[in-house]
């Protein structure tokens, strides 16, 4: 069991490496840097038509490993690091294959490069994995350079208040206990947009938000009553006019990790991030852990 991190030189930055080191430290395990390179032509050929291409792929993998090594050295964590090269047609497919082969328990990926610093933009690789990965994934915000605390300081679980999501809270609670960090369960309530029908007024959505928040509060308290989470767990309802405001208002601390569950899309346990999850991911200021459903 180790932590796998997807890394390719010149793509997406070094933030996933920082996050992966933290993850490996926290989980007390080793780290494998996985680089996916293009698969050379497999047809045997006397002319060795694909030799140069294969060489290029080889070089790419070596460069990535060197750069990752350099970066990991500068972080200097004492975590045991391996390098692993996969040749595959697609980056996402290669990563999935590597995770299976290595038996990793967690996959770390970075934000796509077109987000702003501190933002998470799901690129094509992570998007596909966020809808198919069989192991939990962590996404690092762009430019993430580790927490000053040097590790996980709090685990926050996003909970929409629906009964089928209680199992996610249970799993996050178990994880928090195992890692011995404080836990928080949070529900985001977002105000609907107003239309202007006659004789209804412009503030009715505020009342609906209030009702949403009230129901969310009850659902959270219910978690404690039912013994899903312990008494020491913080419960919070964060409201706002939009997802950005609600998430912004939730008071994040250094070294925090936001955990989201996903809905099971088939019989097999896989990650499948829904539309709300995507919105939360886009606005979260801290790394996000996505658990398979």
């Amino acid at each position: 069991m180790s932590v796998a991190v997807g890394y390719l030189a010149g793509k997406g930055g070094r933030s996933p490496l920082y996050l992966a080191v933290e993850a490996a430290t926290t989980l007390k395990t080793s780290l494998t840097v996985v680089t996916v390179v293009p698969r050379p032509w497999m047809t045997p050929s006397i002319a060795r038509i694909d030799a140069e291409y294969a060489q290029y792929a080889e070089q790419l993998a070596a460069d990535s490993a060197t750069e990752a090594q350099k970066c990991l050295d500068s972080i200097g964590s004492g975590v045991k690091v391996d390098f692993h090269k996969v040749a595959h047609r697609s980056a996402s497919g290669g990563l999935a294959e590597a995770v299976e082969e290595l038996g990793s328990e967690l996959l770390v990926l970075g934000s796509a490069a077109d987000g702003r610093l501190g933002q998470m933009v799901v690129g094509s690789t992570s998007d596909r994995l966020l809808h198919s990965s069989s192991v939990p994934m962590v996404i690092s915000p762009r430019g993430y350079r580790g927490s000053t605390a040097g590790g996980l300081s709090r685990l926050t679980c996003g909970y929409p208040g629906t009964p089928e999501c209680v199992s996610v809270v249970e799993r996050v609670a178990a994880l928090a206990e195992r890692l011995d960090v404080p836990m928080r369960v949070i529900t985001f309530a977002v105000r609907g947009r107003t239309m202007y029908p006659s004789q209804v007024g412009l503030h009715i959505e505020d009342s609906i938000l209030e009702a949403t928040a009230g129901q969310a509060r009850e659902a959270l308290v219910e978690l404690k009553k039912a013994g899903v989470v312990g008494d020491a767990v913080t419960l919070q309802v964060a409201t706002g006019n939009g997802w950005d405001q609600a998430i912004d208002g939730a008071d994040w601390q250094d070294g925090e990790l936001l955990a989201l569950g996903t809905k099971p899309s088939s019989g097999i346990a896989r990650v499948f991030l829904g539309s709300r999850g995507s919105k939360i991911l886009r606005h979260s200021p801290v790394p996000v852990l996505v658990l398979p459903g």
Binding site: T194, S198, Q199, L202, D206, S207, E210, T234, N241, G249
Partner: protein, 500 residues
């Protein structure tokens, strides 16, 4: 020992406490006073010009004849006066801004229930009737574009003059709107602007083309319908002015409301009345007043007039029908939204079962409500020829507006010192005039409208006496109504403190 239950009169007259509207975290940011007169006027025009004008001539002209132009002015004046009173109420009672909550905070529970009955009737009938109007224009559009019409049996209600089986397009429209609302979709400001432009554009097209066939002969016998006919016309027309009160509720966001508010209401009213009168004037110029009541024009009336004017060329009628299909769709969405939100408010106050106040945690919208509303109005639209019942929409609105004007007077007497962002100019004449104008318009409604209205209100009040008054949220002192945490920052339910 349980506390003795309050007496019936106490229950009927108890009022919801006046509390500030709960504000979402950070929501106060958008309440900057930033709207000026022009914007507010445009907002009012956009909210008012809706389905009505596409449908109303066929209903009102047979009653008032060419003097329907005067009916428009009368209905407009009544709507304008009501909107001004509404504005004072909105600034004095910062609850959610519905006539229902105003009645609850000023006149007590039983009146609130009565107003709620008016609103539910108004919204329910207008949504079903709008959907039926949409069905007519959709059929016209399909006919013009592809030469295909949905069979009559699938576009007419079974109990109409020419019975069919079900009005399928109307049912589909309501289903689509319900699905959109359940998903939490809403009409954005941009979409709203586009809709307003489409509506005004097709109406301008209608006016321009209709004027080419203008004959003053058609105005002969202008006053034939007489005073009673004109009043009856005004009563039917009144519903086309619904929406003007949206201006009134925007008080918190308006710069210098004391000046801006009446100006915007009057400007919007003038603009809307002018548009309506132009459409009516142009339409009347093309044909005899009797022709409006003909069978041929009972569906997609304005389109048919354009075809008659252009002598069989259908392009203009197609454009108009397309514009109507798009804009009526958006109106239905807004009307259904309004209906669900009123039910939500009643459920929250305990006057309806709490299922109505339940928000789905996934979509964060009141899903139960939406499904109930869609089911009821869908059945109505599919099977009852409600398009002849627009008068019921007018009656509900007029009665609700009267309670607002009465509420203004009551509140001035009872709480003269209450801070008001906007005060009605010319108090007490204006509210009294407003009440008088509404009563006058009500006078023109036919007896069977009164009968249906009376039955409906009686049913709702019976529900109140049998159920609501025992379950009202005010029964436990109203604590449940005070949004304890809503005005605060995001609430954190902290873990118990460490004993050390």
């Amino acid at each position: 020992m349980t506390a003795p239950s309050p007496s019936l009169s106490t229950q009927m007259l108890r009022r919801r406490p006046v509390i500030g509207a709960p504000v979402a975290h950070g929501a106060s940011d958008h309440l900057k006073r930033s709207i000026g007169t022009f914007q507010l006027t445009m907002f009012g025009v956009g909210a008012t010009v809706g389905t009505g004008i596409f449908i109303v001539l066929q209903q009102a002209v047979p009653k008032a004849g060419p003097a329907v132009l005067v009916s428009f002015v009368i209905a407009g004046i009544a709507a304008g006066l009501s909107a001004i009173c509404y504005a004072e109420m909105a600034s004095a009672v910062p609850v959610s801004g519905s006539t229902y909550s105003y009645a609850y905070t000023t006149m007590g529970e039983v009146v609130a229930m009565g107003v709620a009955a008016c609103l539910l009737l108004e919204y329910g009938v207008s949504m079903s009737a709008t959907a039926i109007g949409w069905s007519g224009y959709l059929n016209k559009l399909l006919d013009n574009l592809f030469g295909v019409q949905i069979p009559h049996s699938l576009t007419a209600a079974p109990w109409g003059e020419t019975p069919g089986i079900v009005n399928l397009p109307a049912v589909l429209l309501i289903t689509m709107c319900a699905l959109l609302l359940i998903r939490g979709a809403s009409e954005s400001a941009t979409v709203n602007t586009v809709m307003v432009i489409i509506k005004l554009g097709v109406l301008a097209l209608f006016v321009a083309i209709a004027f080419t066939a203008f004959t003053t002969d058609h105005f002969a016998g202008f006053w034939n319908a007489g005073f009673a006919g004109i009043t009856a016309g005004a009563a039917t027309i009144f519903f086309t002015f619904i929406g003007l009160d949206a201006v009134s509720t925007a008080g918190d966001e308006v710069k210098n409301p004391q000046k801006t508010m009446p100006r915007a209401i009057i400007a919007a009213l003038l603009a809307v009345t002018t548009i309506y009168i132009l459409v009516a004037f142009a339409g009347l110029g093309t044909q005899e007043a009797e022709a409006f009541g003909s069978e041929e024009q009972s569906e997609a009336g304005l389109s048919v007039i354009l075809e008659n004017v252009l002598g069989g060329s259908t392009w203009a009628s197609t454009v108009l029908a397309a514009g109507a299909v798009i804009s009526i769709f958006s109106v239905t969405l807004v009307v259904m939204y309004g209906q669900t939100r009123i039910l939500f408010a009643m459920g929250r106050d305990g006057l309806l079962p709490s299922a109505f106040a339940k928000v789905n945690p996934r979509s964060m919208t009141p899903v139960n409500n939406t499904i109930i509303v869609a089911a009821v109005t869908g059945i109505l639209a599919g099977f009852v020829p409600l398009d002849y019942l627009w008068d019921l929409v007018s009656i509900g609105t007029l009665v609700a507006f009267i309670t607002v004007s009465v509420g203004v007077i009551i509140l001035r007497v009872r709480e003269p010192d209450l801070p008001r962002g906007f005060k009605v100019p010319g108090y007490p004449v204006t509210p009294i005039l407003s009440i008088a104008a509404c009563v006058w318009v009500l006078w023109g409604l036919p007896p069977n409208t009164w009968l249906w209205f009376g039955i409906w209100v009686a049913v709702v009040l019976a529900f109140y006496f049998l159920w609501s008054r025992r379950h009202s949220a005010l029964n436990d002192g109203g604590d449940g109504l005070i949004p304890a945490a809503a005005a605060q920052e995001d609430e954190v339910l902290l873990p118990p403190k460490d004993p050390q």
